[in-house]
Structures are given as C-alpha cells and as structure tokens.
C-alpha cells in the first residue's frame, strides 16, 4: 500500500499545513510517511505545493514523479500538476477557483484521470472558516480514502495547531467535516 499525493495552491491557502497534517495523521495511524514542501523564496507568490507519501513500507524517495492523488486549490496548480497525475489517478479540485471552461484542452489534460470538483472555498466559508479550505480538502480526501479514523485526525490536527492556535480547532475541524460530507455526496 502506497499513496502518493501532491497538494498545490496559492501561498496563503494553507497547502503546506494540510500536507504536513496529512503526513502526521498517517504517522499516527502507524504508516511510514514523508512530506516534502517547497520552501524559500519560491514560497512567496505563485503556486506553492508539497508532496506527501504514505506507505506501509519504508519510503526511500520522498520525490514522486506521477502521484496517484492531487489536491488542487487553484487554477495554476491545476495546469501545473494535472499532467503529472498517474493514469487512473484522482484529483480533488477546488471548484471555486478552477473553472473547467477557462482551461484549454481540458479533455486532453484529464484523459484517463478522475477529476472530482468540490467547492472547497465556499464550503469553508459555509463552515464559518473561510481560511480553512485546506482542511476542507483534507476532509474530502480522507472521506474518499478513509486512511485514518477521526480520532487519529483530531490528534494530528491538535498537534499541528499547538497551543497558540488551539482556538482555531473547532473551525478547522468543521471545515474538515464539511469536506467529508461533500465527498460523500459526490
């Protein structure tokens, strides 16, 4: 068992937080994990992405050429990573910022790939946590794959938030649940 996920979005969309959280939850669940963010000035502006691998075996390389999963929060990310998605792979895409009709050769890009649209931004706003669209996306992801239980996720989320941001737990968790809810409807 080996999951390879690339998460990508704008700088402010919490992509690295989500990737880290995902890896942490994976570790708590008992898997081997790796999390590789981009860093440095590249973080400033433009797209920001990270790679997460979750596996039941040792992970030699944290690099992934053709991920099986994508979590895409904006349009540039879609254009950048969809071509790398494995045949038969799944992309969870932020419907609010990625409009199918703005994309040339959409068909070609997504050939043999499963693209699931979820309006992460709107859902997060609905959940009263407009900044937590990343959590919403994680909800959708785990709702789809059921990699770890709610307990494990809660533990990981609390660890990630730490003391200084503990007050954000509720809002974040609500967004997470929204994501699960939404994916279950798809």
């Amino acid at each position: 068992m080996r999951f390879e996920i690339i998460l990508s979005g704008f700088g402010g969309q919490g992509v690295l937080f989500a990737g880290n959280l995902l890896a942490l939850a994976g570790m708590y669940r008992g898997y081997q994990v790796s999390f590789l963010p981009v860093y440095g000035p590249e973080m400033r502006g433009g797209t920001c992405h990270c790679t997460v691998v979750i596996s039941d075996k040792d992970i030699a390389s944290p690099l992934v050429k053709e991920p099986g999963y994508l979590i895409i929060l904006n349009l540039p990310s879609f254009l950048k990573f969809i071509p790398r998605l494995k045949k038969g792979g799944v992309a969870l895409v932020n419907e609010d910022l990625v409009k199918r009709d703005e994309i040339e050769n959409y068909e070609e890009l997504t050939h043999h790939k499963r693209v699931i649209y979820v309006p992460f931004s709107s859902l997060a706003e609905e959940a009263g946590a407009p900044l937590a669209l990343n959590l919403c996306a994680l909800g959708a992801f785990n709702g789809l794959l059921k990699l770890f239980s709610e307990d494990v996720f809660v533990r990981a989320l609390k660890e990630m938030l730490g003391k200084s941001k503990a007050h954000l737990f509720e809002a974040n968790f609500r967004a997470y649940l929204k994501g699960i809810e939404a994916i279950n409807k798809v």
Binding site: G9, G11, Q13
Partner: protein
C-alpha cells in the same frame, strides 16, 4: 483623465483604501489570478484625482487609462 485599475496587479493590501481622502475605494469579492481579492471603486465620480492611491499602492495598480498594460 480616467484612472484605470490594473486588476491583475492588485494584492488587496488595502493601502489605497485607507489613504484615499475621499474614501471611495473598497475591496471587492472578486479574486484575480494570484488569488487576491482586488480593489474596486465605490463611487468613482467622487474621485479628485489627488494621486494618493497611486503614491501609496505598492503594486502600481492605478494608472492613467492608456498606459500600457502587461
């Protein structure tokens, strides 16, 4: 002179809104390609062309119409 807002450049920092003496600028709900909510006019007719928005905008968003856009 007509002032044009180069929406692509705006990062929604709000400096123009704050410093506009006429308080006629606001953030819209629209996002540009960079993902930022962008500035917009509340009541352009009240603009006195004082130039303060130009002076304070870090992104050179306010330009005279006709200046070359990227």
């Amino acid at each position: 002179m007509k002032i044009k807002i180069l929406e692509d450049r705006c990062k929604g920092c709000g400096l123009c809104i704050e410093f506009c003496p006429k308080k006629i600028l606001a953030l819209s709900d629209k996002r540009n390609l960079l993902g930022y909510k962008i500035v917009c006019w509340k009541s352009p007719e009240n603009c006195n062309h004082c130039g303060i928005c130009y002076l304070m905008c870090p992104e050179v968003v306010f330009v005279e119409d006709g200046e070359i856009e990227r």
